[in-house]
């Protein structure tokens, strides 16, 4: 393994200063970074270990009703926080559908947001990859690409963002708090991840040294608690990334959809908010026809990037199903197979 410096700053300010130099990266749980380093995909000169920074592992409700989640809260702790799961059930369900129990125990909220794509050509250092090495080319475009992007891709890159967690977060207008060289700022999570365009090497809007310190869910996000689901189709029941996933959240008043939120995972380089589909649903009854219409609107711009045309049809069907499940109401407890189409048939009753 390449030699690297390891620093463990005492404060956020020290961390930002230590990570601002070229070749430095933040280390949280390392569930993705260490694999990338062992595979020679990432060869940092300096690891800035943020796991010991104080104050970043809290889940707090703010005065205005927002929920603030520290960047070092583990995926497992967040998902199993009873109040959190009750208020934001689709987010908890998404968390529990990701990775494996061991990984969820380690992985952090901030790290989850910044995990890299699972495109095999990104991981395979013998292949050309514009994301790994700017301008080198994309071997996925004509390669084995049945799981690649169908939305927002470019000739430079057809990779997808693998996070489950981010999908309902984007649907619920989550905000990311960032500490950087010029102090604290915040951006919408939807603006954090970038589509590839001609610069797929840049995954996110973060600048050198930027540290995500928290994710915030606005007060309105609670309003969907009774009708919110995450649905994930994958090639095995656990420890597999989504082929396609969807988060659907509805606010239903007097038999009509007062407000809808919809986002897709596994289809683009970012969690894909489907606002046009949301607009279709506003003010209408939550019917199968309405959901079909929403599904078509959500995928209007989709096109295959390879052997993956099926993902477009699959995504439409997942949207319909996720909306249907959301309309039916959030179950009292998260199913034993979270986010699975088989949730109701596993025999066990809860996670």
């Amino acid at each position: 393994m390449k030699q690297f410096d390891y620093v463990r700053p005492a404060t956020v300010a020290e961390a930002v200063a230590a990570a601002a130099q070229p070749g430095a990266v933040y280390l949280a749980a390392g569930t993705n970074l260490l694999d990338l380093m062992k595979g020679g995909v990432s060869r940092p000169d300096r690891l800035v270990d943020v796991t010991h920074l104080g104050g970043l592992d809290q889940i707090e409700t703010l005065a205005d009703g927002s929920l603030r989640i520290g960047a070092l809260v583990s995926n497992a702790d967040l998902a199993h926080d009873a109040n959190f799961a009750k208020s934001y059930p689709a987010v908890a369900e998404a968390l529990l559908s990701g990775a494996s129990a061991q990984l969820r125990n380690a992985a952090t909220v901030g790290g989850n947001l910044l995990q890299r794509t699972r495109c095999a050509y990104f991981y395979d250092t013998a292949s050309r990859c514009n994301k790994r090495e700017a301008g080198s080319g994309c071997d996925a475009r004509e390669g084995e690409n049945r799981t690649h992007a169908v939305l927002g891709w470019s000739e430079s890159c057809i990779a997808t963002h693998p996070s489950d967690f981010c999908v309902p977060l984007v649907a619920l207008d989550a905000v990311v708090e960032i500490e950087g060289k010029t102090g604290r700022r915040e951006i919408a999570l939807e603006e954090l991840h970038r589509l590839p365009g001609n610069t797929p090497e840049r995954d996110s809007a973060l600048e050198a040294g930027d540290l995500i310190v928290a994710v915030r869910l606005p007060p309105a996000a609670r309003g969907f608690a009774t009708h919110a689901r995450y649905l994930k189709v994958r090639e095995r029941t656990s420890y597999a990334f989504a082929v396609v996933s969807a988060a659907a959240a509805l606010r239903i008043e007097n038999g009509k959809v007062a407000e809808a939120r919809l986002a897709l995972g596994g289809v683009a380089a970012k969690p894909w908010r489907a606002r046009a589909a949301e607009d279709v649903l506003k003010g209408v009854a939550p019917t199968a026809d309405a959901f079909q219409e929403a599904a078509w609107r959500a995928l209007t711009d989709a096109k295959p990037s390879g052997d993956n045309a099926y993902k477009i049809e699959l995504a439409r069907r997942i949207v319909v199903r996720a909306l249907t499940l959301a309309a039916a109401g959030t179950p009292a407890r998260i199913p034993a197979l979270p986010a699975s189409p088989f949730a109701s048939t596993s025999g066990a009753i809860h996670a």
Binding site: A126, S238, V243, L314, S340, F342
Partner: protein, 753 residues
């Protein structure tokens, strides 16, 4: 027909109660506590770490390696390359026997597949060796890679599997097809698969002058030892291999491969002990795999649903430099009573490591195609798949006409179907739904695997303190040899299992052959059986010829060995303990050797196979196409069951492999580069716990007096066969969509709602 009853009336019987008992594995506590020493757990003093650099191209030549950069890295001790390596005693390209496969041990700069070793970096730490390997930054002259089942001109190999004829014929297939009322003509494809044992291939090698100490997981201690002796030009007795535990082998640790050989070379080069452990992705190349196949099945049936012809052709691949051909079509030789059968193979050469034995080689690939095709034919005839199989039940082995040494398949069908509730199945597909609206499908497959025997030897000892020992260089790959073979040893010695010191897993013990072909318990067990008989006979001689013994004169009547005593067969009140006999004889111990081997006369007379029937239920989301297996029942008849607990676990494992074959496993090869794009356990999908449904295994009673002295057929591989087809057929029954390319993928089921 002569009755070759191998267990009839030996002069002395041994009687115990270990065989048949569901003992928990005796090494279980060690493993749970992390105290079982696997090869890579060994750290002899002064040990260095070796890391292989492997090729990123699949075909061409290495033109440069930056050895200086690697050597300049702190901690790097040496870099082994084609120009700087210990010479071997023989050219590794020479195949000295049929069980020698060509390996890449830096004999040239040629690259013949991706992940081929091209250099070895030896360093004080694993991290330094790893970085040294990265710093070599190889350059290549690249040639276009040969990839896939259509990579080039096909040819007919001289043999398939281990010396099987490439083609077999029975009757007139074309006439049978022409006369058929119903015909099926279908093509099935199976992907390349990799063994993916939990424990990667590893070696710790230490030279002491011309003596060589090796810690290495192996399924074939003596075959490996002989190959090492040959490669390094040293005598067998200078080499000691320890392999007490394997973290799975599945065929990939059967024969000596390149990487451990490189470990031994590295130790020789630097004059210090060296450890070399493969990274997960390095297991996708130099240590074998299951080759992909494309199988065409043409089947004919008459108006009654009786087969008129069965034509099974398999295309497979081998490497560009060696020969192993997955004998997939041979699966059609034994199961169904077609009057005309033709099986044939052809192949193309691709840039891959040589395919090798992988758990049920040929049987697994052939079974999923054959069982799918039989299911298709049953549907074409409008007959229930089980009724169709019973209608075509083979009373003799179809391809040879030989009687079976035993065949309780009918009982397997009956018991499995009853347990599963098969009679409630709808004939039409896409008829069954659960309460949640999911499609439900039921499918079945017939399981079969040959009952093989190899050669083995064992040494038995009885001691004056009343204890015994059984020594055999057997292999525990996780299947439970430490337990099952010790149970046999205890019975053969007439001692409680706790009074028997059972020694295995070391090359200084008698040769146990290879743990493969599902034949290890049968082969090693037969050797233990005969060694036990021999040592009891010697002990009995002391007693029956000594007039001071209560057993004096019992030589003709014979004695029974039980609970540490010999007892007169015709008068159980007369007996004497081993302790007394040996004390009076004035010897510290008595020892004897015995062998286990196939019986050519019995093999000539009988077809010997284990059988089974597997029933599977799947649920499929009608819109989303996601599949989940929800229930499996397997009923297997495999002769004598030494340890029902371990055997069930073996069969569970096989059934999970079958389900994995149908739904999950596939090495995804880039069609341009020939590189495997999912060479890790995150993306090479095998079932996780959440995928595995409740499994039910029935072991059907079966007495087989012909296969070997103990009547054991073996259960290591049969569980995969039948299971894969059962799951695939259940998917069809659930959806009405017949998928013929495995694993079955979501997109195949999105075609209709």
């Amino acid at each position: 027909m002569p009755e070759l009853n191998l267990t009839s009336a030996p002069a002395h019987l041994r009687h115990g109660s270990s065989i048949g008992q569901p003992l928990t594995r005796r090494d279980g506590v060690l493993k749970v506590k992390g105290q079982a020493t696997y090869a890579a757990d060994n750290h002899p003093p002064g040990m260095l770490f070796a890391v292989m650099a492997v090729s990123s191209i699949a075909r061409g030549r290495v033109t440069s390696l930056d050895v200086a950069a690697a050597k300049g890295h702190p901690g790097v001790v040496d870099v082994m390359t084609p120009d700087h390596k210990p010479e071997l005693a023989i050219d590794p390209e020479i195949k000295t026997n049929p069980f020698v496969f060509r390996m890449e041990v830096l004999q040239s700069d040629e690259v013949r597949y991706a992940n081929q070793p091209i250099a070895v970096v030896i360093a004080e730490t694993l991290e330094a060796a790893t970085e040294g390997a990265a710093l070599l930054a190889p350059r290549y002259e690249v040639l276009p890679a040969l990839v896939g089942l259509d990579a080039g001109e096909s040819f007919v190999p001289p043999v398939v599997g281990v010396g099987n004829p490439t083609e077999n014929h029975l009757g007139d297939v074309e006439a049978g097809l022409a006369a058929a009322e119903k015909q099926i003509d279908a093509i099935y494809e199976t992907p390349p698969q990799y063994h993916n044992a939990m424990e990667p291939h590893a070696i710790v090698a230490a030279w002491d002058g011309d003596r060589l100490q090796i810690d290495m997981p192996t399924q074939g201690l003596m075959l490996s030892l002989a190959r090492v002796a040959e490669l390094f030009g040293i005598a067998h007795d200078k080499i000691h291999i320890r392999s007490p535990f394997l973290g799975g082998g599945f065929g990939s640790k059967g024969l000596m491969s390149g990487p451990p050989t490189l470990g031994i070379m590295a130790a020789k080069l630097v004059g210090r002990p060296v450890k070399l452990v493969l990274r997960r992705e390095q297991m996708y190349g130099p240590v074998g795999h299951r080759a992909p196949t494309r199988q065409r099945l043409r089947i004919g049936a008459d108006g009654e649903g009786r087969l008129t012809a069965l034509d099974h052709h398999a295309r497979t691949v081998s490497s560009t430099f060696d020969d192993f051909y997955e004998p997939a079509a041979d699966a059609s030789h034994t199961l169904y009573a077609a009057p005309a059968i033709r099986t044939a193979h052809d192949a193309v050469r691709v840039n891959t490591g040589t395919p090798l034995f992988m758990r049920a080689p040929g049987e697994a690939t052939g079974s999923i195609a054959l069982e799918s095709a039989i299911d298709e034919m049953a549907w074409a005839c409008g007959i229930d798949p089980l009724a169709f199989r019973l209608k075509n039940y083979a009373e003799v082995e179809p391809i040879t006409g030989k009687p079976f040494s035993s065949k309780a398949l009918r009982a397997c069908y009956e018991q499995g179907a009853a347990r599963f509730g098969w009679s409630k199945r709808s004939l039409q597909p896409r008829q069954m739904r659960d309460d949640a609206g999911l499609l439900v499908g039921w499918g079945m497959g017939t399981a079969t695997f040959p009952a093989l025997m190899f050669q083995a030897e064992a040494r038995a000892v009885l001691r004056r303190d009343g204890s015994g020992a059984m020594e055999i260089g057997a292999h525990d790959m996780g299947q439970g040899a430490w337990t099952a073979l010790a149970q046999i040893a205890a019975d053969e010695l007439g001692l409680d299992i706790d009074r028997v010191e059972f020694k295995a897993g070391s090359s200084d013990l008698p040769d146990a052959g290879i743990a493969g072909g599902s034949a290890h318990t049968a082969t090693a067990g037969a050797a233990i059986h005969s060694a036990g008989a021999a040592v009891i006979a010697k002990l009995a001689d002391f007693a029956t010829t000594d007039e001071r013994s209560p057993l004096f004169g019992a030589g003709n009547a014979g004695v029974i060995a039980r609970d540490g005593r010999l007892i007169r067969r015709d008068d159980e009140s007369r007996g004497e303990s081993y302790v007394e006999i040996l004390a009076r004889a004035g010897v510290a111990e008595v020892e004897a050797r015995g062998t286990g081997a196939p019986n050519p006369a019995a093999m000539e007379e009988y077809a010997m196979h284990a059988h089974g029937a597997v029933f599977a239920e799947v649920k499929v989301d009608p819109e989303l196409g996601q599949i989940r297996v929800t229930r499996m029942v397997g009923a297997f008849a495999a002769g004598r069951i030494v340890n029902p607990h371990l055997v069930k676990s073996q069969l569970f494992g096989g059934m999970i492999w079958g389900m994995s074959f149908a739904l999950h496993e596939e090495a995804i090869t880039d069609r341009r580069s020939g590189r495997i794009m999912n060479a890790n356990l995150g993306e090479y999908h095998i079932p996780v716990n959440a995928d595995v449904p409740p499994l039910d295994v029935i072991t059907v009673e079966e007495h087989d007096p012909h296969v070997n002295a103990l009547g054991i057929k073996g259960v290591g591989e049969i569980g995969i066969t039948g299971s894969a087809g059962a799951v695939a057929n259940a998917v069809w029954h659930a959806t009405g969509v017949r998928v013929r390319r495995f694993p079955i993928k979501i997109e195949e089921l999105l075609t209709q709602r």
